[in-house]
């Protein structure tokens, strides 16, 4: 059990918005449109809405779990230890640590692949990778304050740079692509919803970050706000892609979000996807930092490994994995594996723990059943 954090290390609740937003909107923003519209076509936005509501439900459940813990124990590691006992709890915690690290790695690999294809095809990736690792080390070793800081800037950069780009694209949109509405069956919509919900796997970070938020109990409105903002961005990108491309064309385009932005032309620059892609670095770094921080912190709580050492170890591990996972096929495979495990590890786990928490006592006693 950790002691309650001193005032110096806690963040005010508004920062939960940025931390969660960054975890919910990941690298998938670039190409999720293909998967979502594969079965639902122009009704994909319904799937996104449904997935967002599902995530809101998850967040609500997580708050339910966390509110039933005594404040020092209101985090992922302690919840596992309490409800599943020492051995299974420890195993679960290690699973989650690996899961966070896996998520961070997958995001990094995907982003670097996009960079490689789009901007620097002939570049030797290693110096860049090492530089980004140095950046990640610098960020995460600053503690939760620095991680929250970079999350803030990352979110701000998305809203400042990406949103205004919707306006110049308007002349090239075909709004009629959105009709007829509800042309697909519920089964198809459900498939799309499932694929979409996989984008939101980062919501688990809430449970790891919770102890560092001041007045945790009353911070739920910021979490819901983050989910709402994430849903908004995803729907916006989906609508843009659906209206910009013809359905066949969408199936063929690898990264629809970037292709849409590519047509914008301002007096000083054309091909604004370069700006978008580079500002995305800020967002990616914040996403990966949150994952790394959560993993290192949970590792410290479970196995008492000093965070600096686990951070260095994680980064070295990433380096090795980078070398092994080189071509896009491998990347796609590990991403889909990550998504599938995530579904069970996050979307099945949270409701189970929620139900268990409802039946056990409020504070740190580990009695199961009333």
């Amino acid at each position: 059990m950790d002691s309650p954090k001193s005032d110096k290390f806690t963040l005010s609740p508004i920062h939960l918005f940025f931390l969660l937003y960054v975890s919910l909107v990941g690298a998938g923003l670039m190409d999720f449109q293909r998967y979502v519209s594969a079965s639902s076509g122009q009704d994909g936005w319904i799937a996104v809405l449904a997935a967002s509501l599902f995530v809101v439900l998850m967040i609500w459940m997580m708050y339910g779990i966390l509110s039933r813990q005594a404040p020092p124990g209101a985090n992922l590691v302690d919840v596992n230890r309490r409800y599943f006992g020492k051995a299974i709890g420890a195993a679960l915690n290690v699973c989650f640590v690996v899961y966070f690290l896996w998520g961070a790695f997958v995001t990094l690999r995907f982003y670097l692949q996009v960079i490689e294809v789009w901007i620097f095809p002939e570049m030797n990736q290693w110096p860049l990778v090492i530089c980004i690792f140095a950046l990640l080390y610098y960020t995460v070793s600053g503690g939760i304050q620095t991680v929250a800081g970079i999350c803030f800037w990352g979110t701000l950069s998305i809203f400042l740079f990406v949103l205004p780009q919707c306006l110049p694209v308007l002349p090239y949109l075909h709004p009629h692509n959105m009709t007829p509405v509800l042309d697909h069956s519920a089964a198809e919509l459900f498939d799309s919803t499932r694929l979409m919900a996989r984008q939101f796997l980062g919501c688990l970070v809430l449970m790891a970050v919770f102890p560092y938020i001041k007045e945790g109990g009353r911070s739920s409105k910021w979490s819901y706000g983050a989910a709402g903002a994430a849903a908004f961005i995803y729907i916006l990108m989906l609508l843009l892609a659906l209206m910009y491309f013809s359905p066949q064309q969408l199936k063929e385009t690898v990264w629809p979000t970037l292709s849409v932005v590519s047509i914008i032309h301002v007096p000083l620059m054309q091909r604004l996807e370069y700006v978008v892609l580079n500002m995305w670095l800020l967002k990616m770094v914040s996403n990966i930092s949150v994952g790394l921080w959560a993993a290192c912190h949970s590792l410290k709580q479970q196995l008492r490994i000093r965070p600096r050492i686990s951070l260095a170890g994680a980064l070295i591990g990433f380096l090795i994995l980078f070398y092994l996972v080189d071509d896009p096929g491998d990347t796609r495979r590990i991403i889909s594996l990550y998504m599938k495990t995530g579904e069970y590890l996050v979307f099945a786990y949270i409701p189970i723990v929620f139900v268990i928490s409802r039946f056990s006592g409020k504070t740190g006693t580990s009695q199961v059943g009333k």
Partner: protein
């Protein structure tokens, strides 16, 4: 304080006598003879002459047998009788005479202050921080005058002054000022603790103190605001900051500061708020331009030709016609040349300065373009960014910006626009990690405090700034109550 030695009167006098300007003037009053010891370079000789004359005449009419009798005739105030050796050592350097009886050097003595003119410049125009409107009062190198100026404006007993002696050789007085009831005691205590813990030999300037007591020495960014303007210091004090100044320096440092304090100019507050906000935003934009303009040029010309719109393409390619260097080297040479010019220009005697400025700026630039060593578009960019790095009112911040340009250009040369993105990331993470007197540096943007954001990027009207910014945790939040909303009548009811 460290390096304390136990002084005795004899040891003090002995150590002082090593200098030839420490003299002893005798005064005999018939019955007794007294000695006045002093540094003649610190004393107003005329005043001393008057004093001795007065004492002589007094001695002729009256019997002066002992020290106390003598002191009764001294026409000055501020006399100290039987000071301890520590005090003597201090005061002798402030222009005091040490008076003792010849027959009893170890016995009772007294200090008589006869300070000389300070030898300081008379004008107190600020030469680093200009403003077009508003008072131009700046501080000079004398601590007492400075405090006098401050108290003249903030004439409230709540303005508390604490003096701390810093420096093992210089024993400079360092003044710590704050407004009691506004400033948070924690801030004051922190600052005081840091000042008292200083172990240094000579403090030349408050900027040195700034570095010694700062939270993080591995950053180019200044963590305390350095200013020589009175209105800035007063503003800092009334919002709850703490001000420190050392003897012999015209600069106050105020803390805790945030990044946005360095873009504030007192002029913003003297102009209408719309104009003030506009100029502040221009300043911030200027800084961003200064940081990234050259690196954008390098990145676009080296890696991302497809981003250049077709209208600019011809111009840019033509401007680089026959230039033998890659854009990165070109930009680096020009930036370094500008730095050379600036450094040389700062040290040139004023007569040579002007002509060399013309030579450097105009002729070199033209010649370089004519010789096709660089492109003229790049010269425009580099000189503009050099110019805009000075838009920040505080000099130290413009230094930081000038320095930061180089790593960003380097990163842009290696990884193009991604390098710029990495540089931005590093910068933002670095800024998020900085603390000024324990407070985060990028408040109110991170940690987010929405209520304080109104005075950061724009300057709001006086109707809105009635409360103090909360990140300094002031004891009293309300500065003033803005005028109540006038009930608005409909336009035909005037």
């Amino acid at each position: 304080m460290p390096n304390q030695q136990a002084y005795s009167m004899a040891s003090i006098l002995d150590s002082c006598k090593r200098s030839t300007d420490f003299v002893t003037t005798p005064l005999s009053t018939g019955k007794e003879s007294f000695s006045f010891s002093y540094y003649k370079t610190l004393i107003d000789v005329e005043g001393l002459g008057h004093l001795l004359h007065a004492l002589q005449t007094a001695a002729q009419t009256e019997e002066i047998g002992d020290l106390r009798g003598l002191l009764a005739h001294v026409p000055m105030d501020g006399l100290e009788t039987d000071p301890d050796p520590e005090r003597v050592r201090e005061q002798i350097f402030k222009g005091c005479l040490l008076v003792y009886r010849d027959s009893d050097p170890e016995g009772p003595c007294a200090l008589i202050p006869v300070p000389a003119k300070k030898g300081l410049r008379s004008s107190n125009e600020t030469d680093m921080e200009f403003s077009v409107v508003g008072p131009k009062i700046g501080f000079i190198e004398d601590l007492d005058t400075n405090i006098h100026l401050l108290r003249a404006q903030l004439n409230t007993p709540d303005l508390v002054l604490k003096e701390i002696l810093v420096g093992s050789i210089s024993r400079s007085r360092v003044a710590l000022m704050y407004i009691d009831g506004v400033a948070n005691e924690e801030n004051v205590a922190k600052m005081e603790k840091r000042l008292r813990a200083i172990d240094f030999d000579v403090v030349f300037d408050t900027s040195q103190l700034d570095q010694i007591i700062s939270d993080n020495s591995r950053t180019p960014f200044p963590l305390f605001t350095t200013t020589e303007r009175r209105d800035r210091v007063v503003y800092a004090l009334i919002t709850g900051q703490v001000a420190v100044i050392s003897e012999g320096s015209p600069y106050f440092i105020t803390g805790p500061s945030t990044l946005f304090d360095f873009f504030l100019s007192p002029e913003d507050y003297f102009l209408p708020w719309i104009l003030g906000s506009f100029f502040r935003m221009i300043r911030i934009f200027g800084v961003i331009f200064s940081l990234f303009a050259s690196s954008f040029y390098v990145a676009l010309m080296t890696y991302h030709y497809e981003v250049i719109p077709k209208e600019l393409l011809g111009r840019l390619i033509y401007s680089r016609e026959n230039v033998p260097f890659a854009p990165f080297l070109e930009a680096l040479f020009l930036e370094i040349t500008v730095e050379f010019l600036r450094e040389a220009g700062a040290r040139l005697p004023s007569r040579i300065g002007q002509s060399l400025g013309i030579v450097g700026g105009i002729i070199l630039g033209q010649a370089a373009v004519e010789a096709s060593l660089t492109s003229n578009i790049l010269i425009i960019i580099v000189s503009l960014s050099a110019l805009t790095s000075f838009v920040t009112p505080i000099y130290k911040m413009s230094n930081a910006i000038r320095f930061l340009r180089f790593p960003i250009i380097l990163l842009a040369a290696v990884w193009g626009s991604l390098g710029i993105a990495i540089a931005v990331c590093f910068l933002l993470v670095h800024l998020s990690r900085l603390r000024s007197l324990g407070y985060p540096y990028t408040v109110p943007f991170f940690p987010v405090r929405v209520k304080d954001m109104k005075d950061s990027l724009i300057r709001p009207s006086y109707a809105v700034t009635g409360t103090r910014p909360s990140y300094l945790k002031p004891r009293s939040r309300i500065r003033y109550k803005p005028e109540a909303e006038r009930k608005s009548n409909d336009f035909d009811e005037e």
